[in-house]
Amino acid sequence: MSNAEKLRQLVLDVFLLDPAEFRFDLTRDAIDTWDSLGVVSLSVGIHETFGYSMTPDEAAGLGGIGDLVALLDRNGISIDAQS
């Protein structure tokens, strides 16, 4: 499974989205379930899936999936959002 697919599946699980709703340009405001539990779940999932530990500030500061992709990219985890 590609990194993009792993990230997509994680986001679907964490935020209880239907597969058809997923887009890499989804913003935090567009996801009702991006709440405190969602943020924790996302942080833990990123650590388990990609081995990267987001700091609390990084997790709280994410504005959407695009920010997450960029953060992972800056930390050496490439997500091909076109795939």
């Binding site: 699980d13 964490v14 209880l16 009702d32 379930t33 991006w34 709440d35 405190s36 539990l37 924790v40 779940s41 942080s43 833990v44 999932g45 650590h47 388990e48 530990s53 700091t55 609390p56």
Partner: protein, 340 residues
């Protein structure tokens, strides 16, 4: 938003403001929840906290009461393996307030220092599509203070000690959350000796919640548990035991050093006579209230737990409402780990 969250949790009570917020929340649920409206058809604005309508905790075992669109709302469930599980529908706005509440309460107890957090549970439980166990919600109360979070149970339910070892590798101070019985059975009884020696250099804030039935069955009392936990950690370590309900997520009632449970000023505890349901100063059923739940009308819940209000100032210095938790009402359905 709740104005009450602007104040320290154990400062002078502001019951007029709490009443105002609870009245507004009752109106919110009546407008959005047909079942709640059928239960309280004649509601008139309460003039005192005792007049805020309540639901018996048992209602949440039989109905998924949603005040609004519950299609994609998270649902918390009590974690008991016996009995019927309670279900409480969450709301994103309420979730933020509940997180702010538990953060303020715990900061008062364990400080706001950021440390690694070890949780004796499975991370997968966070991502359940059906429902999130209440014990995970309880663990999340500690998470705002975490630099990193380590879930350390393996799929079989045993502690994966290598994960614990990783978590403490570079840390001199950590927080650990577990349900009470697991602290004894998984943490203390099965810990490898080598790790026990390693943990002796780490300051640990143990935070736990949940019933004592399993430990009482093996004759482990609170003093024994605390002593065993602190013996396996560095000096300065602490043990915090809190009481709460899945229906009242975000409200923690920690046991203070003087042996009492304290209610933050944004919650209320009323004791009701089990037979008349009238407020009483004697032992009775605990009714718990807070102004946060918007996803379900769980803002005022009559529990199956017995307690007693205690008047006067607490020697621990905290102001406001305090009470003794006595136990479950005899014949109340066993709820396993529901008491978070």
């Amino acid at each position: 938003m709740s104005e009450l969250l602007a104040y320290p949790p154990y400062s002078e009570r502001r019951d007029a403001l709490l009443l105002e917020e609870l009245n507004a929340l009752t109106r919110h649920h009546l407008e959005r929840n047909a079942v709640y409206r059928r239960i309280w058809p004649e509601w008139k604005e309460a003039k005192a906290l005792e007049e805020i309508p309540f639901l018996h905790a048992g209602v949440f075992k039989h109905l998924r009461l949603a005040s609004g669109d519950a299609q994609r709302a998270r649902t918390l469930v009590s974690s008991g393996t016996t009995g019927t599980q309670s279900q409480v529908v969450m709301d994103p706005d309420a979730s933020r307030l509940q997180a702010a509440s538990s953060r303020a309460i715990l900061a008062e107890l364990i400080g706001a220092e950021m440390t690694p957090l070890v949780i004796l549970d499975h991370a997968a439980a966070l991502r359940s599509r059906d429902a999130i166990p209440a014990r995970i919600a309880a663990a999340m109360a500690v998470q705002p203070f975490a630099t990193e979070t380590h879930f350390v149970l393996d799929p079989g339910g045993a502690v994966d000690w290598s994960r614990v070892s990783n978590a403490i590798a570079k840390a001199g101070h950590i927080r650990l959350y577990a349900i009470t019985s697991l602290l004894w059975t998984a943490w203390l009884e099965t810990m490898p000796d080598a790790l026990r020696a390693e943990l002796g250099r780490v300051r640990i804030d143990f935070v736990h919640s949940g019933g004592w039935k399993k430990l009482e069955a093996i004759r482990v009392d609170r003093a024994t548990l605390d002593r065993a936990l602190l013996a396996a950690a560095a000096p300065g370590s602490r043990v915090v035991d809190f009481y709460g309900l899945v229906e009242q997520n975000g409200i923690l009632f920690p046991l203070c050093e003087s042996g009492f449970r304290h209610a933050p000023l944004w919650s209320e505890v009323i004791v009701r006579d089990p037979f008349t349901l009238l407020p009483t100063n004697a032992e009775g059923l605990l009714q718990l209230m807070n102004p946060f739940p918007r996803g379900a009308p769980s803002h005022s819940v009559l529990t199956e737990d017995l307690g007693r209000l205690v008047a006067g100032d607490c020697p621990c210095g905290r102001k406001g409402r305090r009470f003794e938790l006595i136990g479950r009402l005899p014949k109340a359905e066993v709820r396993g780990c529901a008491n978070v």
